[in-house]
Symmetry: C2
């Protein structure tokens, strides 16, 4: 692999919103407004861009019922689900070290 | 834990530069210019701020020889070294899925 694997992962994960979206979709598929609600502080613009970024990378699927009223949900692909390993590492590091992590 | 552990980790890790600094210091302690050279594209301002952020969080130590000429190196604390688990997860995810990761 030419590029450092950590850099490749970060090119996919990009920012915290990407990780929070994956966290939410690891639980279940979600509608746009459900994601907007659980990602406190995200703007509609950033959420739209991040979902598009993840769809282009085949991390998630945009599922539409193709009938009126239109219903769109987002769900993880197998590649997306495999990111659970990274989220688990982030989660267990924080749980194991919570008492040592002090923000001024 | 009140805050979601993934969010706590991301509050510490903050951005890609934090992760790249930890990646470099997991190999060995480094001087400022050594870090600046290996983190392609980082500005001096961002590197100074990120190192301060990590020092305040006790992720790394700033070691100074307190004599002329002044020599400063940065090294990981035990808390910093424990982040290897997260970097390993990022690295193995990319290695296992490299063929499926396509950027347009």
């Amino acid at each position: 692999m030419e590029v450092c694997p950590v850099e490749l992962s970060l090119k996919v994960l990009k920012n915290k919103w990407t990780i929070f979206i994956i966290r939410e979709l690891l639980v279940s598929k979600k509608r746009f407004n459900e994601l907007k609600k659980s990602l406190k502080g995200v703007t509609t613009k950033v959420l739209v861009e991040t979902l598009k970024h993840l769809e282009q990378l085949n991390i998630l699927n945009r599922n539409s019922n193709n009938e009126f009223p239109l219903k769109v949900t987002y769900s993880l692909t197998e590649l997306g689900k495999s990111l659970k390993l990274v989220l688990d590492a982030l989660s267990s590091w924080a749980c194991e070290n919570e008492e040592f992590i002090k923000f001024n």
